[in-house]
């Protein structure tokens, strides 16, 4: 076991949501966006009125989409709101059943050849679960071409309060070990780490016992944003991923999420495509919970289950630091969703007219070692070239600077604005 930490960042004194992962009852209607990954949208292969089974292919493309419930297709629309504020094609299904017929095969996934396993992963439409949702098969192929030597399983919940990985490490130990074995096999490497956030010594010992011989356990300090791949790689191997456009694969490491490893095991063992997703629902809800939700369940259904009061101010998909605020509760839970964070109107962030007082707190917390206050001041007045000379594009938008700013300057807002303007000028 080794320990790891990062420079900068924030130590939140927030308890992670605990409790076993409950299964959320399936709603009466689900909506399945045809793009739940980074890349182009899939094509619908079903028509309105058609009956579908659980796990049936309904969208074909680089990352296929499968029906997560059994029922009748009620709509195939081109424009459905997505979590980024745009529109994507989607398929609505009226639910008639939710049973998944297990392919009770006695197959040992670890005995599959690398190519066979990769083929299944691609067909199952697996993504690396997080807000970016990179296609997993593509990611593995890229890692192979880069000759990656090290696999890091990211069992650190990135956002403060989210308790999915922590809970999965307790509930799904066998599947995790299996998933790591398969991924090592597919990638053809021997060196693997399982990164978890420090918890009680007893839990750590149990996990270490479970993964011994498969992966080395790395315990990270409870600091945000150590769960971002870049910083995880630095904390574990000491190598810095080149900025601004480098990837962990460039320094010979591939980082794959913990839940992804579990779903790889499920997909290979039982041919089960990802039909559900574990999420944490917390913030201003009556019962903060870890839930297993059918993909396609509208946020509204999830929130009704957890109970929310009348005056919600913000519904955030992802988490309080890097999450995306939503304007509609019709938006479904997708492969990109890790958590839902609810805020009351009284808890919303404030913006003051105060100018920067040069305190340097943002410089102290910036994990990218940038000068956020200077970059954001340049962006604010439209001097994007100057902002770029202070490495605007290096910013990962983790939000640490805006969190600590005593003047309540929306630094991340200005930085995102600057980035988008530079992109526009380049076009």
């Amino acid at each position: 076991m080794k320990t790891a930490t990062i420079k900068g960042g924030i130590e939140f004194k927030v308890e992670r949501v605990g409790g076993a992962i409950e299964t959320l009852p399936v709603p009466s209607k689900v909506v399945l966006p045809l793009k739940q990954h980074k890349g182009t949208a899939c094509k619908a292969v079903v028509k309105k009125g058609q009956e579908v089974k659980v796990g049936e292919l309904i969208g074909d493309g680089e990352v296929p989409i499968h029906a997560t419930v059994a029922g009748k297709v009620t709509e195939v629309t081109k424009r459905f709101p997505d979590i980024r504020g745009g529109y994507i094609p989607a398929i609505g299904i009226e639910v008639q059943g939710d049973a998944w017929d297990e392919d009770g095969s006695d197959l040992d996934p670890t005995s599959l050849s690398s190519n066979q396993a990769l083929e299944t992963i691609k067909k199952a439409g697996l993504v690396d679960y997080n807000i970016d949702a990179e296609p997993l098969a593509e990611k593995i192929n890229f890692a192979k071409t880069k000759g990656v030597k090290t696999l890091v399983i990211n069992g650190v919940d990135l956002e403060p309060g989210v308790g999915i990985c922590k809970q999965l490490l307790v509930e799904k130990r066998q599947e995790i070990v299996g998933g790591i074995k398969v991924l090592k096999n597919v990638l053809n490497i021997t060196n693997a780490y399982l990164a978890i956030e420090s918890t009680s010594a007893q839990v750590q010992a149990t996990i270490e016992g479970a993964v011994s011989g498969v992966a080395e356990l790395v315990v990270t300090s409870p600091k945000y944003p150590v769960g971002l791949p870049k910083f995880l790689v630095k904390a574990i191997t000491g190598k810095e991923v080149p900025s601004p456009h480098g990837r962990p694969e460039d320094v010979g490491v591939v980082v794959i999420g913990l839940e992804t490893a579990i779903s790889v095991w499920d997909a290979l063992k039982t041919n089960r495509p990802p039909i559900d997703k574990a999420i944490t629902v917390y913030g201003a809800v009556n019962n903060p919970k870890n839930l297993r939700v059918r993909i396609g369940t509208p946020l509204k259904h999830v929130l009704e289950y957890c109970g929310v009061s009348a005056e919600i101010g913000k519904v955030i998909v992802g988490g309080p630091m890097m999450g995306l605020a939503q304007y509609s509760l019709d938006i479904p839970v997708t492969k990109e969703v890790n958590a839902i964070f609810i805020q009351r109107e009284s808890e919303l962030t404030e913006i003051s007219g105060q100018k920067c007082i040069n305190c340097g707190w943002c410089v102290k917390v910036c994990p990218m070692r940038l000068l956020p206050h200077i970059i954001s001041s340049y962006c604010e007045v439209g001097m994007f070239e100057e902002a770029e000379s202070y490495n605007l594009s290096y910013c990962v938008e983790c939000g640490c600077c805006a969190y600590v700013c005593p003047a309540k300057i929306p630094l991340v807002h200005w930085i995102k604005y600057g980035k988008s303007q530079i992109k526009r000028e380049e076009r």
């Binding site: 870049k230 900025s243 101010g313 519904v315 995306l324 805006a402 969190y403 600590v404 005593p406």
Partner: protein, 340 residues
Amino acid sequence: MKDKGFVVSVGPHIQGRESIPRIVYGVVIAILPAIIAGVYFFKMEAVKVIVAALVSAIVFDALLQKLICKKVDLTNGHALLMGLLFATIMPIGVPWWAVAAGVFVGLLVGEYVYGGFGNNPFNPVIVGWAALKLSYPGYLSVASSVLGVLKLEGISAIVEDYGYFSDAYGVENWSTLGGKLKLLGKILLGWKAGAWGDHLFGCVGCICALAILIGAAFLFIKRYISWYAPVGFLATILFFSLVFYKGDKQYLYPFVLIQLFSGSTLLAAFFFVTDFATTPFTGLGMFIFGVMAGLVTMLGRLWGKWVDPVWFAILVANAFTPLIDRFVRPKPFGRVKSSV
């Protein structure tokens, strides 16, 4: 449950609890021990200066806010802090009108001409002090404080001729560790009047080192200040007073104590060298700033004409802040030397 009308914005969606008014009030609380010690040691003389500084700071702050067409807002505690900090660095005996004039110049020239709180390149408190020092040097002279006597007559005069440490503190000998600690402890509790003057003299907030250290500890616990600048500043002063000491070996210890704990050294180290707006923002930059201020201070104390050039040193270092910030930058994460 409503299902529309939600607020949409970019992250982060939560903010830390600290805000500028909280920090300002935090520093106000931290300076209170020094103020209370000043009142305890100087009685009415200190009260006069403090009241004059406070009242004039509040009045002039409101006036200047009105003048630059801002909404008059005194709730952020800024005027309070300006008044208290200004009072701490005034020697006793400064007339009330001089205090008021200093506060006014400090606020106007040191701060409001640059657009108000946070935009000022020089510490407004020290700008006010500088204006008084130039206009009424007599009132601001600290020649009859311990540091002044040390400067004018030397350390051996203090120890031997005036018998300062034996008379005021009852410590005859500091060759042993016990004696050293005893002297240190007594000096931390406060400076005392020497035989060269009939009553105690000093600046309102600088007379009791312990009170300043208590305030500094509070600031450290709240993380409002970091250690870089104070350490750079105090280490430079210590280094110079050890290396360039020219007197008798046995008086080195009291000499160092006077350099570190008398005059405005400690107050500057924890309340002025750590000021947000006028000092660099990187750790290394803060350290360099501290060293620079310490350097100018000790050059003045050892070889210059000024008795206690701490404030002057900070003004000089303030002028270098933009330069330090320009050259001392952290290396961004993952920067690679371009191969092109």
